[in-house]
C-alpha cells in the first residue's frame, strides 16, 4: 500500500485505484480473448463443392495457456522470461470446438488446436495474471513491469494505440473546393465505404447531392429520399426543413430536381439511380478494369431498379441497418444530415472540428488482433476448403476422411500470421484495404520510464511529412485525456501523443441492451414519427446510438438524466456516454470501443459525493479498502466521462470551488499530465517546452531498467551502479514506484560560472565525486551466435583456441592473443577481459555449402542404394566464422547462456560488460529539460567549498536559467535542500502546493532558515584555488541529475579498413577542391 502523509486529500487515496496506467492494452486484449474471439467463429462454416454433405462448423473458440512447442510432440508451459531468453514466442494455442461430418456420421470434437496466438503479458491468459509480488519474483519477473506487450521471437513488441477518426459518424466540413459537405465513413464487418452529402452552389442556387463511389454521378438528395420510399414532396420538405425556414428556403432548390429528372415515384427514383450505377460499370469495363464493389447475387440478370435498391440498402451508408428494405432509419438519417449541412452553410460555426478529440477513436491491440484473427481464420478456412475438396475428389480412399485429424489441418497459418504481423508491424488485411506499417514497435528498455512511456503512447494515422498544424496542435478537448507535455520534437511532433494519467480507453459494450434501455426510457421509434414531429416540436430530440438514429424523444434531459443514473448504478455499462447537444437537437449515446474517457468525482448540490468517511473506516484492511474502491463507480461516487460528455459537465478543480452548478469534481489537477511528465518536479513552474524536452530525455536516462535487469539478455542495457531515489519526488512517481527503479542521482549543484569550460550548457564535474562512484554506469551488450545443424547432417561447431605452437611469436603473437578469453569449448569464460578483436565465440562452419553436399549425396544414393555419402559429424573441412568483440575500450564477459529455441537452433548468448565513469563529453540532464555535456572534470581541491565543508558535485552556468525559465528547477533545489536538512524526501507534484502534494517554496525557505542556511538557497563559497571568499552568494543545493545514454565512448568512429594511400588521396582531393573553390572566389 502506498504511504500517504496525513495532510493528503481524500481524492488522492482513490487515485491509485483508478490509475489504469498501461491497463488499456490489457483490458483490450482481455476483451478480445474472452469475448470478441467467440463472435468470429460461429459465422464460419467450411463446406465442400465436391461433397455437398460435407461440412464443418465451429461451435466455440477459446485460448489456452501459454506454452512453447519444443518439437512436434511435446510442449512445455512457458514463462515470459524463458521466452525472452530463448528467443521464443510467448504464445498460447487457440482451441476450437467443432462439429463436422466424418464419412456418414456427424462428429463433435472439442479442444482442437487451430494455431497459436501471442499472449499479452499480464493479460488474463498470461501466467503473470494477478500474481502477487513474491510470485512474480519467483517467476523472475519485475513486479513493477507494466505488461501489455508481447514477446515475439524473444523480442518485446508493443502494439501502439492508433488514433483514428471515428467510424460511422458524420463530420460536417468544407472539402478541398470549399464546398460544404458531410463526410460519413461507414464501417461494418462486411465492408467499409465513404459517402458524402454536399451542398453544391449551382446556377439555380444551392443544391444538395449525395456522393458515393458506386453511384456514378452525384445523385440529388431528393431523389435518394424518394428512392428510399419517401415519395411525397411534403414529407421530404418536412423531414429536412420544417424546423427552420431558412433551411427550407435553401432546400427548396433541391426539391425541384426530381421533377426535372421526371422522378415522381420510388420506382422511378430507383430506376434513375440504377441507370447511374450501370453507367458507371460501363465506364469502368470500357477501361478494362473489372471492379465490382457490389454484386448481390453473383449474376447480373436483375433489373436496374432492384440493383439500385440493393445498393441503397446495403452499400450506401451501410452502417445504418436496413431490414426488409425498410428505409425509415436511413431516410431519417439522410434528412438529418442534409439539414445539418445546410445549417452549417448558413452558420459556419456549426462546422465540425476534425481534430476535436470526441471525433477520435483509439484502436488498441485487442481490436487490431481481432481484425487480424478474423482475416487469418478466414484464410485458414478457405485453405481447409481447398484441401478438403482435393481429398474428397479422390473416389476410393482407404480411410474415412477425418478433417480434424488429417494432415490438411494446418495450424501454422494462424501462428505464422500473428508472429509475422507483430514482429514486422505490417498489418495487411485485404478485406478492409488495410495496409499499415509500423503498427508495432520494440519496447524500449532504456530505462524504466521509457518502458512505461511506451505503453501510453498514441500514434496518429496522419502523414508525418505534411506540415499541417491542425492535427499537431493541442486541442482543448484533450484536457485530462492526453498529456500536454509528452510529445516528441521534430516531424512527429503532436502526432505521437501520450495518454494522461487517468485516461482510460473503452472497449465495446453491448449495443442491444443499451438500445433496449433507451426504448424503455421513452425513446419513440422512428416509424411512428414524421418530419414535422421531429423538427417542429420544440423539445423533440433525435436519439443517436453510436452514430445511428434509433429514435426520437420528447423529454431529452430526462432521458439523459435517467441513463446517467443507470450508468452510475452499473445497470448499463460504466463507460457508456450520454451527451445532449442542444444545437443539433440530439442526444448522442455512445457505447463503442476506443473512446477515451476519464474518471471524475460526481458532485451534487455543491458537495462532492466522495466523503472522507467512505474510505476512512475501511483503511485498516487493505482488502476491504480495495473493495470499497471497487464500489465507487457502482455507488455513484465516481464515473467515467468521455470527451463528448465532458461538454455537458461543469467540472470543479477543487472542492472549495464547488457550487450548485457543478456536476463533477476533478480527481486531481496533476492528472492532466502523463506518467513521464510526472518525473518533473514542480512542472507547473516551468516554461512548457522544457517539460516536453524532459519527457523526451527521461526516456534516455540511465538507472534501473527493471528489477530483473540482470536476468535479462537485452541487446543493450544501460544501468547506473548507484542509482538514487530523487530527493524531490512527485506523487505520480510514487504511483509507478519510481523510487524502486530510479533513473539518476542526486547531485549537489552549484549555479556559478567556473573555469570557462561551462559555456553553452556544459557542466563541470567534481573528480573526487566521480572517484567515489557518482553517476558511474554499466553498459551490457549482447553477442549472439547460433550453432546450426544442416539438412545434410553437417553442423557448425565451436572449438577452443589453436595450440600455441602454431604461432611463431608465441604468446606475444597478436593473433594468438585474440583467443585469450576462450575456454576449451570455444566459448569465452565468464570474467575474462575482452580487448578489441578478441574472439567471443569461436564458431566454425562446414566449408561446403549445405545445398551442394545435399544434392551430391542424393545423386549417389540413387545410384548406390541407401548409403549416404557424408557420415554425419565428419565433414571434410571447416572454416572459421567466429564472433569477435569490436570496440575501442575493453569489456568483461558477464554471462554466457547456452540454450535452444523452437526451431531447434542451438543458441549461444554472451553478455559483455563495461563499467564507465563519467568523462568529458558525456551528456547529463536535470529533470527540467536542461541537458548539457561535461566540459571539464576538476579535482576537489580546486572546487569551491562552503565553510561547513560542502563541495559541489556539479557546477552549472547561471546563463542556463534566464532564457529557459525553468523556475521548477530552482524550486526543486530549494525544496530539496530543505528536505536534505530535515532528512526526508520533498514533494514536487504538479499543481500540488495547495493540495498537500507539493512543498511550498515558502515553507522550504523557512525550514532552510531554521537549519542555518540562507532562505533563498544561496551559500557563501570560498575559491578552491586561491582560498578567497567568492564575491557573490552561490545558489547551491541538491538537484536530481540524469545521465543520458549518449556517451562519448560510443561515439568513437573510425574508418574500418582500406589502404592508407587511397585515404591520403581522398584527403588530397578534398584539399584540391577547397583550393579550386578558394581560387574561384579570388
Amino acid at each position: 500500500m502506498l504511504q500517504l502523509p496525513h495532510n493528503v486529500q481524500t481524492r488522492w487515496k482513490i487515485l491509485p485505484h483508478f490509475l489504469r496506467l498501461m491497463k488499456q492494452h490489457v483490458t483490450s486484449f482481455d476483451y478480445f480473448v474472452q469475448t470478441e474471439i467467440k463472435k468470429v467463429a460461429p459465422n464460419q462454416t467450411v463446406r465442400s463443392e465436391v461433397d455437398p454433405n460435407f461440412y464443418l462448423s465451429y461451435t466455440d473458440v477459446y485460448v489456452g495457456s501459454p506454452s512453447i512447442e519444443e518439437d512436434a510432440f511435446t510442449s512445455t508451459a512457458a514463462t515470459p522470461l524463458e521466452c525472452r531468453l530463448r528467443d521464443c514466442t510467448y504464445s498460447a494455442p487457440i482451441y476450437v470446438d467443432v462439429k463436422y461430418r466424418r464419412g456418414p456420421q456427424i462428429v463433435t470434437t472439442s479442444k482442437v488446436p487451430i494455431g497459436c496466438i501471442p499472449i499479452m503479458l499480464h493479460s488474463c491468459k498470461c501466467v503473470l495474471y494477478e500474481k502477487s509480488r513474491s510470485e512474480l519474483e519467483a517467476l523472475k519477473e519485475c513486479p513493477h513491469d507494466p505488461g501489455g506487450y508481447f514477446i515475439v521471437k524473444g523480442v518485446e513488441k508493443v502494439i501502439l494505440m492508433q488514433e483514428q477518426l471515428s467510424k460511422n459518424r458524420m463530420i460536417i466540413e468544407r472539402d478541398a473546393k470549399g464546398v460544404f459537405c458531410a463526410a460519413i465513413t461507414s464501417s461494418t464487418h462486411e465492408r467499409k465505404s465513404r459517402c458524402s452529402i454536399v451542398v453544391k452552389p449551382t446556377s439555380h442556387g444551392y443544391r444538395v447531392y449525395l456522393k458515393h463511389n458506386t453511384l456514378g454521378d452525384d445523385i440529388p438528395v431528393a431523389v435518394i429520399l424518394k428512392a428510399m420510399g419517401m415519395e411525397c414532396d411534403q414529407e421530404i420538405a418536412e423531414l429536412v426543413g420544417s424546423g427552420d425556414c431558412r433551411i427550407a428556403s435553401i432546400f427548396v432548390n433541391s426539391m425541384e430536381e426530381p421533377s426535372a429528372a421526371r422522378v415522381k415515384t420510388q420506382k422511378q427514383a430507383l430506376a434513375y439511380i440504377g441507370e447511374a450505377i450501370r453507367a458507371k460499370y460501363k465506364a469502368q469495363s470500357v477501361d478494362g478494369v473489372r471492379f465490382l464493389q457490389y454484386a448481390p447475387h453473383g449474376r447480373r440478370s436483375i433489373s436496374a431498379d432492384e440493383e439500385a435498391r440493393d445498393v441503397l440498402a446495403h452499400v450506401v451508408l451501410s452502417h445504418v441497418p436496413v431490414v426488409n428494405y425498410d428505409f425509415v432509419a436511413k431516410r431519417t438519417y439522410v434528412g438529418h444530415v442534409t439539414k445539418r449541412v445546410i445549417a452549417a452553410l448558413l452558420d459556419n460555426s456549426l462546422l465540425d472540428d476534425k481534430d476535436y478529440y470526441g471525433n477520435k477513436r483509439l484502436e488498441l491491440a485487442g481490436q487490431l488482433l481481432s481484425l487480424l484473427f478474423e482475416d487469418l481464420f478466414k484464410r485458414f478456412n478457405s485453405d481447409l476448403k481447398r484441401s478438403a475438396d482435393l481429398v474428397l475428389q479422390k473416389q476410393n480412399r482407404t480411410a474415412v476422411f477425418d478433417i480434424v485429424k488429417s494432415t490438411i489441418w494446418r495450424t501454422d497459418t494462424l501462428a505464422q500470421g500473428f508472429v509475422h504481423a507483430i514482429s514486422t508491424g505490417n498489418w495487411v488485411l485485404k478485406r478492409f484495404k488495410m495496409d499499415r506499417a509500423g503498427v508495432t514497435q520494440v519496447l524500449s528498455r532504456l530505462s524504466y520510464i521509457s518502458a512505461i512511456g511506451m505503453m501510453t503512447r498514441v500514434n496518429s494515422q496522419f502523414e508525418k511529412t505534411r506540415k499541417t498544424s491542425g492535427p499537431r496542435a493541442l486541442q482543448p478537448s484533450q484536457w485530462g485525456m492526453l498529456c500536454p507535455a509528452d510529445t516528441p520534437e521534430g516531424e512527429t511532433c503532436g502526432l505521437v501523443k501520450n495518454l494522461a494519467l487517468l485516461a482510460h480507453v473503452t472497449t465495446d459494450a453491448e449495443i442491444e441492451t443499451t438500445k433496449r434501455s433507451c426504448y424503455d426510457l421513452g425513446v419513440e421509434q422512428l416509424g411512428h414519427l414524421n418530419g414535422t414531429a421531429l423538427n417542429s416540436h420544440a423539445t423533440a430530440y433525435l436519439v443517436f446510438l453510436n452514430g445511428l438514429v434509433i429514435g426520437a424523444c420528447s423529454r431529452p434531459h430526462k432521458l439523459a438524466h435517467a441513463l446517467r443514473r443507470m450508468r452510475r448504478s452499473k445497470r448499463i455499462g460504466e463507460h457508456i456516454s450520454v451527451y445532449t447537444h442542444s444545437v443539433h437537437r440530439a442526444i448522442y449515446i455512445a457505447c463503442d470501443g476506443g473512446r477515451v474517457c476519464r474518471p471524475l468525482i460526481i458532485a451534487s448540490r455543491g458537495r462532492s459525493r466522495l466523503l472522507p468517511q467512505i474510505l476512512e473506516h475501511k483503511t485498516l484492511n487493505v482488502h476491504i479498502f480495495r473493495l470499497a474502491l471497487g464500489q465507487l463507480t457502482a455507488s455513484g461516487v465516481v464515473e467515467y466521462v468521455d470527451v463528448n460528455e465532458e461538454n455537458n459537465c461543469f467540472i470543479a478543480l477543487d472542492e472549495n470551488q464547488l457550487t450548485h452548478c457543478h456536476t463533477h469534481l476533478e480527481v486531481d489537477p496533476a492528472t492532466v499530465l502523463g506518467v513521464v511528465c510526472g518525473l518533473v518536479a514542480f512542472p507547473h513552474h516551468n516554461q512548457s517546452p522544457r517539460n516536453t524536452y524532459q519527457c523526451a530525455m527521461g526516456k534516455q536516462s540511465m538507472g534501473s531498467v527493471a528489477t530483473n535487469q540482470f536476468e535479462r539478455m537485452d541487446s543493450l542495457l544501460y544501468s547506473l551502479v548507484y542509482p538514487q531515489k530523487a530527493i524531490v519526488k512527485s506523487r505520480i512517481l510514487d504511483l509507478v514506484h519510481f523510487d524502486d527503479l530510479p533513473g539518476g542521482c542526486n547531485a549537489t549543484l552549484a549555479v556559478m560560472s567556473c573555469s570557462g569550460y561551462d559555456i553553452e550548457d556544459a557542466i563541470i564535474l567534481n573528480k573526487n565525486s566521480l572517484d567515489r562512484g557518482f553517476l558511474r554506469c554499466l553498459v551490457l551488450k549482447k553477442h549472439q551466435a547460433s550453432i546450426r545443424r544442416y539438412a545434410n547432417g553437417t553442423f557448425d561447431r565451436t572449438i577452443g583456441p589453436p595450440p600455441l605452437s602454431s604461432f611463431i611469436q608465441g604468446i606475444h603473437d597478436t593473433r594468438y592473443q585474440r583467443y585469450s578469453a576462450l575456454d576449451d569449448d570455444g566459448i569465452c569464460l565468464v570474467g575474462e577481459r575482452l580487448n578489441d578483436q578478441s574472439i567471443i565465440i569461436n564458431r566454425e562452419v562446414p566449408i561446403e555449402s549445405p545445398d551442394v553436399v545435399y544434392s551430391s549425396a542424393r545423386e549417389r544414393s540413387q545410384s548406390g542404394g541407401w548409403r549416404m555419402s557424408t557420415t554425419p559429424g565428419s565433414p571434410a573441412k571447416f572454416k572459421s566464422q567466429s564472433c569477435s568483440y569490436k570496440a575501442p575500450a575493453p569489456s568483461v564477459v558477464d554471462r554466457v547462456l547456452l540454450t535452444a529455441n523452437e526451431t531447434d537452433q542451438f543458441l549461444v548468448k554472451v553478455m559483455v560488460r563495461q563499467s564507465r565513469r563519467p568523462e568529458i563529453g558525456d551528456k547529463f540532464a536535470s529533470r527540467h529539460g536542461q541537458k548539457g555535456v561535461c566540459g571539464a572534470i576538476i579535482s576537489q581541491e580546486d572546487m569551491p567549498f562552503t565553510d561547513v565543508g560542502i563541495c559541489p558535485d556539479v557546477i552549472m552556468n547561471p546563463h542556463g536559467f534566464p532564457s529557459r525559465m525553468t523556475v521548477g528547477k530552482i524550486i526543486e533545489l530549494v525544496a530539496g535542500k530543505a528536505g536534505v536538512c530535515h532528512g526526508r524526501q520533498a514533494f514536487g507534484t504538479a499543481f500540488g502546493e495547495s493540495r498537500g502534494s507539493a512543498d511550498h517554496s515558502k515553507e522550504a525557505s523557512r525550514e532552510l532558515l531554521a537549519y542555518g542556511y540562507s532562505y533563498i538557497g544561496k551559500d557563501l563559497l570560498y575559491s578552491g584555488t586561491s582560498g578567497d571568499l567568492l564575491r557573490a552568494f552561490v545558489f547551491m543545493g541538491p538537484v536530481f541529475y540524469q545521465k543520458l545514454k549518449h556517451m562519448v565512448m560510443d561515439k568513437m568512429h573510425s574508418r574500418a579498413r582500406g589502404s592508407i594511400l587511397s585515404y591520403i588521396l581522398y584527403i588530397v582531393l578534398v584539399d584540391i577542391q577547397f583550393l579550386i573553390l578558394a581560387l574561384m572566389f579570388i
Partner: protein, 349 residues
Amino acid sequence: MSCYSVAADQRARRPEVEVLSLEENQMSFEVKKTDASMANALRRVIIAEVVTMAIDLVTFEENTSCIDDEIIAHRLGLIPIKYAFKPGKTKLREDVSNDEAAAMSSERDIQRRFRFTRDCDCDGYCDWCACTFKLHVKYDEVIKNVPEHEKNQPYTVTSINLESDDPDVFPVHFVSERERNTSSEPGIAIVKLAKGQEIKLSCIAKLGCGKEHAKWTPVSKCVFRPKPTISWDDNAVRALPPNLRNIIVDVCPAGVLGYEDERDRTSIVVKNEAAILDFTKDIQDLTKQLSPQNKPMFHASASTTDFVFEVESLGGVPVDDCVLCGLNEIKRKLTNLQVAVAEVAAEQA
C-alpha cells in the same frame, strides 16, 4: 566582504596555531598571522597530497555475488586503511637508517615503512611497497554462526572480513566510537551474499595520494574560513526598544545572534561566528533601517590573517597527523623549491 591582498610589507611572518578542539576524528584549529593563500595551501595539501594507503589491485578467485567484480573492487578501494607503527615490532625500510627512525619515530610517517610502488625496484609489488589483504566469505559457512532467527537473511560482507597479511596494516571499520555504537553493521558494508553465494579475492593496498584518486584522501572534510572581526555599536543597540532588538536577533537563523545575557537582553552578540559572514549584509541593512541616524550598528569583515580550520578524518590517518603530514608536505615542497632556486642561481653565477 572585502577583497584583500597580501600585505605590502614583506616582513617575515610568524604564523601561530591554536588548537580549538581535538576529538577522535575531528579537530578545529586557528591559524593566525598568515594569509589566505597559505591557509588554502594547507587545505589543498591535506586533501590531495597526504600519502595514505588504499586497496588498488583486486584479484578475484570467486565471485558469485550479485555485484560485479569492478564494483566490488571500487568499493574495496574506498575502505580507509590504517597503518599503525609499533615501535620495536614494525620492521622499517632498510634504506631508512635506524637513527633516523628512532629520532622521528612516528606512526604518521607511513613512508618510512612503505615505498611508492613506482619507486620500488621490485617486480610488481613486494612487502615494501604494498600490503595484501584476503577476503573469503562463503554464505553457507558463515551462516552457521548466525542466530537462528537471522538464518534467512542475506549476509553482509563488511570490512571485518578483510584479513590483512601485515599486522600493522588493517582496514578501518568506523571513524569514531560513536559511529561504532550506532551502526547496524559490524563494519563497512561491501556486498550482501545470499544462499549459495561465495566471494573469494585477494587485494593489494598501495601508497598513493588524493591527487591520483579520491580513495587516498585521508579526510572527509577539510575547510577553513577567515575569522570574522565583529563590532557592534552597543550604545545604539541599547537605545533600541526591546521588540526591535528581537527583530535583529531573528533576522538570522536561530543560533547565529543572541543576547549577551539572556535575562538582561540589552546587548546583542554573535553566537555563531562561522555563519555570521553569510548574514552580515542582512543585519547591516536591517540595523541601518532601524537606526535614527541611518547608520548600521553592526560591522563584520573577514580577517585576512586569521583562519579557522575544521578537519575531519576518515580514520585511516589520525586527524592531527593529517594536518602535520600536510605541513610536512608543504615544507618538503618549499625545500625542493629552495634547492631548485639555489641550483638555478648557482648556474647563473
